[in-house]
């Protein structure tokens, strides 16, 4: 019985951790390239969740297609917000203005969603959440399998993009030294826009993956974003590999804390770990030089 429970909570933790990784990756990317925190990331996640919901329930699309739709909505949103708000503020040369603007965008989006979608929680059912597999005393839904597969695929694609494509290398160059990258013929503004677009596309897709798990309201993203920030810090600011490990770790901590302590202890354990990391290993789990991040 104990081994079964341990296996079950490990499965639960990996599924939850995969979702956290999807949300935290976008934050990590933005921090790695722009050294900036995007407080509106949670609302990009929520909007992605709603985009998937309406694509599936109003337009009659399949769940997997709705994930694609959420990704597109995230991409367009990221591009629009960058062009309309972040880029003009960056041009004024202030680091603080875009940071404050992300708070403004967050509040604006949250209230716009409240006006459009209302406060009543939506039930986002997919054909995969009803399909339950029972193996050797454990259980998992087809939805869980989809979450892990899509998360793994996304992480692999992002990693390949960053390591092996010209644009990925250029992004890393901008992360290392924006001015020198500019002197080498790389357009930093274009790459910053690309970073924000990739990050918000990931947020949109993360929202679609989270939607069947989350309590879907206009405030849904806010409930996971605090943990996503903790994951980014535990993993190492801007470090993709660290974020993946930290995301899975936090998912597992949640599952096992629920089983052996109490759900009320989850935040105490996770944020206790965050404080320990800040005190003894402020560079995060993967302590590369910052220029190696992203």
């Amino acid at each position: 019985m104990t081994a079964t429970i341990v296996a079950q909570q490990a499965i639960n933790g990996i599924v939850l951790g995969s979702l956290y990784v999807l949300v935290a990756l976008g934050l990590t990317l933005i921090y790695g390239v722009l050294v900036q925190i995007n407080f509106a990331h949670a609302d990009f996640v929520t909007l992605g969740a709603f985009a998937a919901y309406f694509f599936m329930h109003t337009l009659g699309g399949s769940y997997l297609a709705s994930v694609g739709a959420a990704l597109i909505v995230g991409t367009v949103l990221g591009w629009a917000v960058n062009v309309a708000i972040f880029a003009p503020l960056r041009q004024k040369g202030s680091e603080l203005l875009p940071l404050i603007a992300t708070i403004g965008v967050s509040v604006m989006l949250q209230n716009a969603m409240l006006a459009w979608f209302g406060p009543v929680p939506y039930a986002f059912e997919t054909p995969y959440s009803q399909r339950v597999f029972r193996v050797a005393g454990t259980f998992f839904t087809l939805q869980s399998v989809v979450i892990v597969v899509v998360s793994t695929g996304t992480i692999a694609l992002l990693y390949a993009f960053m390591r092996f494509t010209f644009l990925g290398k250029a992004l890393r160059a901008v992360a290392q030294d924006r001015e020198t990258a500019g002197l080498m013929g790389i357009n930093p503004n274009y790459l910053i826009m690309l970073t924000i677009v990739i990050s918000s596309a990931l947020a949109g897709m993360g929202g679609a993956m989270l939607a069947p798990v989350l309590v879907l309201t206009p405030f849904a993203g806010a409930s996971v974003i605090v943990k996503a920030f903790a994951i980014v810090i535990i993993g190492g600011f801007g470090n993709v590999e660290g974020t993946i490990i930290a995301g899975l770790l936090v998912g597992l901590i949640e599952s096992f804390t629920t089983q052996y302590l109490d759900p009320g202890w989850i935040d105490i354990v996770v944020f206790g770990l965050l404080l320990v990391m800040l005190a003894f290993r402020p560079t995060g789990l993967i302590s590369e030089r910052r220029e190696e991040n992203v």
Binding site: Q9, E125, V132, V215, T217, S223, V226, S255, T258, G264
Partner: protein, 383 residues
């Protein structure tokens, strides 16, 4: 001054007097302040409460009551103590209501209570269950629903006697109401001879309940799972318990027990997982009393939807105020004093008679419903 001038002066004086009379008639207004959550996880309460209030006002203001019309001012109290206190102060300072209705969440209501007592403005509560609201309470706070003890004792007794439950797992959000309700169930159930095999509390930020369902599945045989949480988390808990094969909706044996916190339509959102769910509701739409049939009909006409218990109890709050005005209430103090003497108000949710702590003593506002496989309700008629 000639005759024509005198006539003009007289005409103006008459207009002034009539105008003053008119203004006086228009001034005969009972100002109702509504403290409802319209943001955050409990915002569905506010959205549905408003509908009930609007229907009641529409019906009452056609003719008025004792020459009084009713107006309402809403403030977002967010189901949380700090925004609720700020909203209450704003409402009292700016709108100066004669009576207040709300809040829904116990923590928020408890935070508002000293403020309205200081302002000597009565408040009618319909959705908060924490015992402390009326025990000891304060002279200005009235509650028209049974408190957590009345509800908890009733649910635990029915679980033991009617469902033959002997073991239970308690699931509750870590709030005053969640913890309080769970404690009353536990005390009563164990006193009757039942055993609580696990108590699991969680914050409102928990989204994934698979781990909690796993823990419940691991504790062995469970007959009932009383669950005290808001709609969003309630949905996820029910689905996770079904996936884990614990509750009837997932092929298990346990029966989930729910509270009036869940709105109507919960079962349709939860899907098959909700099969076998037994919960109390504050309003029975199948009730054959004329007052209920008219309410259902008028609500459908106005909003093109079936009313929920939140719609119903907000409607009753306004109708109770109208009843008080009919009995002579005209300002904050007289409304408070008349409310306290309420013995036989009949509303759509049930009846109201306040005890010395301003707690409704009537239990006919609690209706037990069981979810059938087609997700409709079977009224259990236990009260």
């Amino acid at each position: 001054m000639n005759r024509r001038d005198w006539l003009t002066i007289l005409a103006l004086a008459a207009i002034a007097v009539l105008g003053a009379g008119n203004a006086s008639a228009q001034d005969k207004t009972i100002k109702i302040g509504a403290l409802f959550p319209t943001s955050g996880p409990g915002s569905y309460f506010g959205a549905q409460d408003k509908q009930g209030v609007e229907l009641a006002l529409e019906e009452l203001n056609k003719a008025g009551v004792n020459g009084y019309k009713f107006t309402v001012q809403y403030e977002d109290s967010a189901c949380s103590p700090l925004p609720a206190s700020q909203a209450a102060k704003r409402l009292l300072d700016q709108y100066k209501p004669d009576v207040i209705i709300g809040e829904e969440c116990s923590d928020a209501t408890l935070a508002i209570m000293p403020i309205i007592e200081q302002a000597k403005t009565p408040m009618i509560n319909a959705g908060s269950s924490a015992l402390k609201i009326t025990d000891p309470g304060n002279p200005y706070t009235f509650r028209i629903m049974p408190n957590e003890v009345m509800q908890g004792v009733d649910i635990a007794t029915n679980a033991y006697n009617k469902l033959n439950a002997r073991t239970a797992v308690l699931l509750n959000e870590n709030t005053n109401a969640g913890i309080g309700n769970a404690k009353v169930f536990k005390d009563t159930f164990e006193k009757l001879g039942g055993k609580v095999v696990a108590e699991i509390g969680f914050g409102r930020d928990v989204n994934d309940f698979t781990s909690i369902a796993t823990r419940v599945a691991g504790v062995g045989k469970v007959d009932v799972i009383p669950t005290y949480t808001l709609e969003g988390q309630g949905l996820k808990i029910t689905q996770a318990l079904a996936q884990a094969g614990v509750v009837k909706g997932g092929g298990g044996a346990a029966i989930q027990l729910g509270t009036i916190w869940l709105p109507f339509g919960f079962e349709q959102k939860a899907g098959k997982a909700a099969t076998g769910y037994v919960r109390i509701v504050q309003f029975d739409p199948t009730d054959q009393r004329d007052i209920v049939k008219n309410f259902v009909k008028n609500f459908k006409t106005k909003f093109n939807a079936d009313p929920t218990h939140l719609n119903a109890h907000a409607y009753d709050q306004i109708m109770l105020i109208a009843d008080v005005v009919k009995r002579g209430g005209k300002d904050a103090q007289s409304i408070r004093d008349t409310l306290a003497q309420t013995k036989s108000f009949v509303g759509v949710t049930g009846s109201v008679e306040f005890d010395k702590n301003n707690q409704n003593t009537k239990m006919d506002t609690i209706h037990y419903m069981e979810t059938k496989p087609d997700l409709t309700w079977n009224a259990l008629k236990w009260n």
